[in-house]
Assembly symmetry: C2
Homo-oligomer: 333 residues x 2
DNA sequence: CTTCCCCTTGGGAGGCCTCCCAGAAACCTG
DNA sequence: CAGGTTTCTGGGAGGCCTCCCAAGGGGAAG
């Protein structure tokens, strides 16, 4: 049916030069006469030649692929707007370098083993980590494999080992807290994310940084980035701090849950309690009232992450990148 | 640093057998004595040997990877809960076969070209299409490449060429419409998705199938799967059919927009107007009131899609699979 | 005990590419 | 125009694996 795929030999024959010359043209390493180059390019077009990656890879021991490792459980993954942007940017940028993106999910031990084996086997030239938690055993495996890795979002505790690009969680949280305070709110609570995530701990730091000792222990409750968790956290907060007049919630999804709880408790938003979210995800405009939240520069973070990875592949020295966020004022605060 | 990666030769030497035998053990093609097998397995563990895929691929001319082709613009991708489930199931199932998943986004012409070239180059053993539109030029390129493809969700117009697994859009829409009618609603409108998507046309078919001539043209408006589109469509619907008492919206995200429009128009939900969504996505519980909607059997669809693909790789004959949906009653209807 | 057969094993060949070296061709320079 | 230098080209080697064939070894059957 489909006749045999043309090889570099066929191209060489069709263009009247040798394999070596064809290879040089294909890999753009110069020292090829214009005539030869033209002939080769024509022959490539004519024969429909596409390089055989396996053979190339066998010789160069580079695979031309990057593995994107997802550590989050699926619900969060889906909720994370970062992710689809990152994927788009990553596939696009890598494609420009003729590289492809392999996806692996390291949700459980089996998944982690697979990723570790994959890297150890040299099946990828680099790894792009998404939302990897502090202390994830996978980190060690990655370092041991010697494959260059970068992370999208800081990997707590490994900031110096694994370069990353991230939104300024701390700064964004600071902005939101200052905004709430500036609106005359005096009893401001916070619902954090899990503290072993950067979004969990850094957003909390931003919050306490602004409020200082006014951020007492009882004003802070911990959520898990789920809507149900946000609802439940809000209820706890209301019961310990009934005179609350504002709450900063570390993610929009949790904020949606918090709104629910406030509604059920008969508090009007923003009149009685102002609510600030974080992420500016799709859900932020779906809630009632629409969420005042902090927008992350997702596309920029994604682009920077990939840029870092490529720099690492080229063996350049790289430093972490932190990008500014933006306060988006809607109706909830 | 990391010393040279062990090859099959090293394993052969360490286990005292020949390359051929090691290869047979690794590929499980039998005709190997128990003693030899044990020795080989021990040697593999000891040396930390991982097969070099490039070399294998060069010889077998199978790549061990599947390309997942995403055709949707990113917003929709992100909104689509199907997607993360599909990814998880796909990576998991493929990993069991020691295959990996490569992601490509065919959003624009450049992307489509890349995908086409990738497939023509034989860089993947199969293609898994996600939400590919009818008439997408990519389809032709895929067929021409000869790479086996399956789709998650029907590809309109190519149902007979490209096997697929999908939720029963028509049936789900029918259920929802019957439910609304059963609640005594008499003036039921619909906001559809784009009619060149299966979710757009099939859900509409389910709706009209139940209501028959009661589903007049003016009761039906077309949306674009975005929240803003849903809001705008709802406003149109309200202006032409002011006495509307229910609306079936073809996606939860659009339904969230519709709720917004209804709220602004002073209609109470569900008292004045009942609202039914579709998808049971995360947003369905974030809206107020929470959405009554149709749940898609996402995990099952994903699993079936991958099963179909694997069957095709094994050159089995496969038929499309349609899986039943489930009505989820919450507060909006 | 011999013969035959089958299970198991070893190792050569070849898949396609890039790297590299040696040699040819072109170009300078004095 | 001769000699030296640079640029370009050809093709062998080798990367690691699987496939296949031939041969060895063991067991069963006669």
């Amino acid at each position: 049916m489909a006749r045999k795929r043309p090889t570099i030999h066929d191209v060489a024959a069709a263009s009247g030069v040798s394999r070596g010359t064809v290879s040089r043209v294909l890999n753009g390493q110069g020292n090829v006469s214009l005539a030869a180059e033209t002939a080769v390019r024509r022959a490539v077009a004519e024969t429909g030649y596409v390089v055989n990656r396996a053979a190339r890879s066998l010789k160069t021991s580079r695979t031309g692929s990057i593995v994107m490792v997802l550590s989050e459980p699926q619900e969060r993954l889906f909720e994370d707007p970062n992710f689809s942007v990152l994927m788009r940017v990553a596939t696009g940028t890598l494609a420009d370098r003729d590289m492809s993106l392999v996806l692996m999910i390291a949700g459980d031990d089996g998944g982690r083993d697979r990723v570790a084996r994959y890297l150890r086997g040299g099946h990828a030239d680099g790894a792009l980590l998404v939302s990897t938690h502090a202390g994830d055993p996978l980190l060690e495996a990655i370092e041991r494999s010697g494959v260059p890795a970068v992370a999208c979002g800081a990997v707590l505790g490994r900031e110096s080992v694994i370069p990353y690009a991230a939104a300024d969680d701390r700064g964004g949280a600071r902005d939101m807290t200052e905004y709430l305070a500036g609106q005359g709110r005096r009893r401001i609570g916070m619902i954090t994310g899990p503290l072993d995530t950067p979004g969990g701990s850094l957003r909390l730091e931003g919050f306490t940084g602004v409020l200082g000792r006014r951020a007492t222990k009882q004003m802070i409750v911990h959520g898990d980035y789920t809507q149900a968790g946000g609802e439940e956290a809000m209820r706890r907060l209301l019961s310990t701090v009934p005179d609350l007049d504002a709450v900063f919630v570390a993610s929009d999804l949790m904020a949606a849950g918090a709104l629910q709880a406030l509604h059920e408790a008969g508090r009007r938003v923003p009149h009685d309690v102002a609510v600030g979210g974080f992420d500016d995800s799709a859900i932020a405009t779906a809630t009632r009232p629409a969420l005042t939240t902090v927008r992350q520069p997702l596309a920029a973070v994604a682009a920077e992450t990939v840029r870092l990875l490529i720099a690492r592949l080229d063996e350049e020295q790289v430093d972490p990148v932190v990008l500014p966020t933006e306060l988006v004022v809607r109706d909830s605060a």
